[in-house]
Amino acid sequence: MKLLRTAIVSAAVLSAGTAYGQISDNLIKIGVLSDMSGLYADLGGPGSVLAARLAVEDFDAKGKGLNVEIIGGDHQNKADIGSNLARTWIDTEKVDVIVDVPNSGVALAVAEVVRDKNKVFLANGPASSDLTGAKCTPNNIHWTYDTWALANGTGNAIVKTGGKTWFFLTADYAFGHALERDTTAVINKNGGKVVGSVRHPLNTQDFSSFLLQAQASKAQIVGLANAGGDTINSIKQASEFGIVSGGQNLAGLLVFLTDVHALGLKTAQGLIFTEAWYWDMNDANRAFAKRFAAQNGGKYPTMIHAGVYASVLHYLKAVQALKSDDGKAVVAKMKEMPTEDPLFGKGTIRVDGRHIHDMYLFEVKKPDESKGPWDYYKLRATIPAAEAFRPLNEGNCPLVKG
C-alpha cells in the first residue's frame, strides 16, 4: 500500500558499491523503532534515530562501498503497532535490522517477528532480561542494560558501601516484582537485609503514605523498584517528606539521565543508581555528547542513545566482514567478533546475545557540585564487566548448551 510506504527519515542513502553480492537489494536498511511521542521519547525516540545516523557516518559506509539507509518509526508503546510496523518494514520495506525499541512489551513482540523473518534485532531501549533469558533468540542482541544488571549493580555496590538495610517501594506488576526479587537476592547474598516492602499500583500519583511506611521502617536505603513517572513522583515526594535529609538514601533501580534532568538536582541529589554509560566519563564520550547535543536541540545523550550508536556500528562491521545481511549469520558474526567502539570501549557479545561491558554506580550531585547543565552524576563505583551481568548459565536461554 502506497500510503504505508515509510517516508525516509534520514536520507543516508549512499552510493552503491559492488563488493557485497550477498546483501539483498544491495542495501542495508536500519529501522529505528522507538517511542517517538510517549513516556520513553526522551530517552530513546528521535535521539535514537540521530545516534544511528552518527554511527553510519562514523562507520563511513560510503567510503566502504556499503549502501545504508535509516528509517524511523513510532511504536506508541503499543505492542500491536510495534510488531505490525516491524512486520511491514521487513515485508514491504526490506528492513534488515531493527534497533532500540524501548518498552519491554513491544520489544518482546518485535523479537518474535524478527526471529520469524530471520532479520536482526539490536535491543537497546528495553529493560527485560528475558530478552537474553528464557525468550532469547538467535537474531537478537541486547546491548545496553537489563533488569538483572541494574538490580545487581545497585544492590551489590550499595550493600558493599554500607547500605545494609533496605525498604522497597515496588510497582505492583511483573516488572516491579522482578526488580525487587533480583535486587533482594543480591542484597541477601552480600549480607544486607530487606526489612520491608510495599507494593504500589502502577501510575500512582501520591506516594506519601508509602513513603511514610518507608520512613517508619528506619531502613538505610529506600529502593525504588519502579519506573518512569512513578520513579519521578516517588523521588520528588521523598524529598518533600524529608526522607534523604532524615538520613535515609534513595536507590533508584531504573533511572535515566532524562529523569534526573526532569527532577532537577535540588530534588534528585543523593539518589544512587546504576547505568551503563554517562557522557562525562572520558574524552570520547564528551566528544560524542557534544556532537549529539548539537543536533538534538541541546539534549544530551542517554545510555540508550550511546547503545544504539555502538550496536549499529558493530552491526555494520559484522555485515562488512561477512559480506552478507542474513539475520542469523550476521548475529553469529557479531557474537564472534570482539566489540570495540569509542563509547563502550572493548567488549564481547555472549552466545545468549548479551553485550558485556562495565556498569557504573552513580550518585546524583548536589546543586553546588554541578558545574553546568547536564553535569549531574558522580561515579561511586565501577562494576567490572565480568560481574555486571547475569551469569550465562542462569538465564535459561535455549541457545546456551549444557
Binding site: S209, F210, Q213, K266
Partner: protein
C-alpha cells in the same frame, strides 16, 4: 484497642488519615468543579483533567518566563485558564446545549486529547519540576508523622475554597440566580438576567477551580502533560458515588474518598487504585442515584 487489633499502630493510622485528607482535597476541588459545571451546563466536562494540567503548566510558565511566584500564580493561573475555558465555551460548547448531554462529553474528551497531545509534544512525558514556595518548605514534626508544611497548606486552602464556593452558591443572591437558572432558564431570563452570560461565567469558574487544583498540585507532583488524564477517571468515580445532587455532596464525597483510599494504602496497598471503583460498584448496587444524588 481497635487499632492494635488491626495490626497497625495508631500513630501510623493518624498519619495515613491525614494524608488521605490531603489527597481528598484534590478530589473535592475537582469534583466540585465538575458539579458546578454540570449543574449549570448539563455537561460532563471531560476536559477537566486537561484543565487541571493547564493550571499546573500555567504556574510553571509564570515562574519560568515572567518570574511570577507561586502565590500570584495561585490567583493568576485560575483566571488565565478560566478565561481559556470561557473561550472554549463561547466557541464550542454553546452549540451543544440543545443536544444530548453525550455530545458535550465527546467534545470535551476531544479537547482533552488535543491539549494533552500538544503539551506532550512540546514538554515530553517525564514532566518538569516546580518547587514549593520558600515559605512552605520544610515541615512539622507531629510526633506520629512528619507533615510537610505545603501539604498542610493544601488541605486548608482547598477546604476554604470549597466552603466559599458552597456558601456562594447556596447562600448568596448570585447563587440563588444560578440555581434558579438551572431549574428554569426561561423564567430567570424573564426577570432580566442574562442567562447565557451566567452560563459562560459558570463554566469559566468551574475550569478555574480545576486550574487552582493544578497549581496546588504542581509542587507535589511533577508538572506533566498526563497528570490529569489518570486523575479524571477517579474523579468521575467520585462523582458517581456522590451523585450530582449537591455542592456539599461533591465536597464531602471528595474528602471522604480520599481518606478511604488513604486507609487502603495501609491495609491493602495493592488495591489502593481500585478501591474507589469498588465503592462505586457497591453504591450503584445499593443507591443507584449516588449518596447525595437526586433521582432523575
Amino acid at each position: 484497642m481497635i487499632f492494635d487489633l488491626l495490626g497497625v499502630p495508631p500513630q501510623a493510622l493518624f498519619g495515613q488519615l491525614l494524608l488521605g485528607l490531603i489527597n481528598g482535597s484534590f478530589y473535592a476541588l475537582l469534583s466540585l468543579g465538575l458539579a458546578v459545571i454540570f449543574g449549570m451546563l448539563n455537561i460532563i466536562n471531560f476536559a477537566h483533567g486537561a484543565q487541571y494540567m493547564l493550571g499546573a503548566f500555567c504556574a510553571y510558565f509564570l515562574l519560568q518566563f515572567a518570574g511570577i511566584n507561586y502565590w500570584l500564580a495561585l490567583i493568576i493561573a485560575p483566571i488565565v485558564v478560566g478565561a481559556f475555558g470561557i473561550v472554549l465555551e463561547r466557541l464550542f460548547l454553546k452549540h451543544l446545549y440543545k443536544l444530548d448531554h453525550l455530545y458535550g462529553l465527546l467534545l470535551t474528551f476531544g479537547i482533552a486529547l488535543i491539549l494533552e497531545g500538544i503539551f506532550r509534544r512540546y514538554f515530553g512525558s517525564s514532566g518538569i519540576p516546580y518547587s514549593p514556595p520558600q515559605l512552605l518548605t520544610g515541615g512539622y514534626n507531629l510526633g506520629f508523622m512528619y507533615l510537610p508544611k505545603y501539604r498542610a497548606w493544601v488541605v486548608i486552602c482547598s477546604l476554604t475554597v470549597c466552603l466559599l464556593t458552597w456558601f456562594m452558591i447556596e447562600k448568596t443572591r448570585l447563587g440563588a440566580y444560578l440555581r434558579a437558572a438551572t431549574e428554569n432558564p426561561t423564567l430567570v431570563r424573564a426577570f432580566g438576567i442574562n442567562v447565557p452570560r451566567m452560563i459562560t461565567l459558570t463554566y469559566g469558574f468551574g475550569v478555574g477551580l480545576a486550574a487552582l487544583a493544578g497549581v496546588m498540585a504542581a509542587p507535589i507532583y511533577n508538572v506533566s502533560p498526563q497528570m490529569g488524564a489518570s486523575l479524571i477517571i477517579v474523579v468521575f468515580a467520585v462523582v458517581v458515588i456522590g451523585g450530582m445532587g449537591s455542592i456539599m455532596g461533591a465536597i464531602v464525597t471528595g474528602f471522604s474518598l480520599g481518606i478511604i483510599e488513604g486507609l487502603t494504602k495501609v491495609f491493602f496497598p495493592q488495591a489502593s487504585n481500585t478501591v474507589i471503583f469498588v465503592i462505586m460498584v457497591i453504591v450503584l448496587l445499593t443507591r443507584p442515584a449516588g449518596l447525595f444524588g437526586r433521582t432523575t
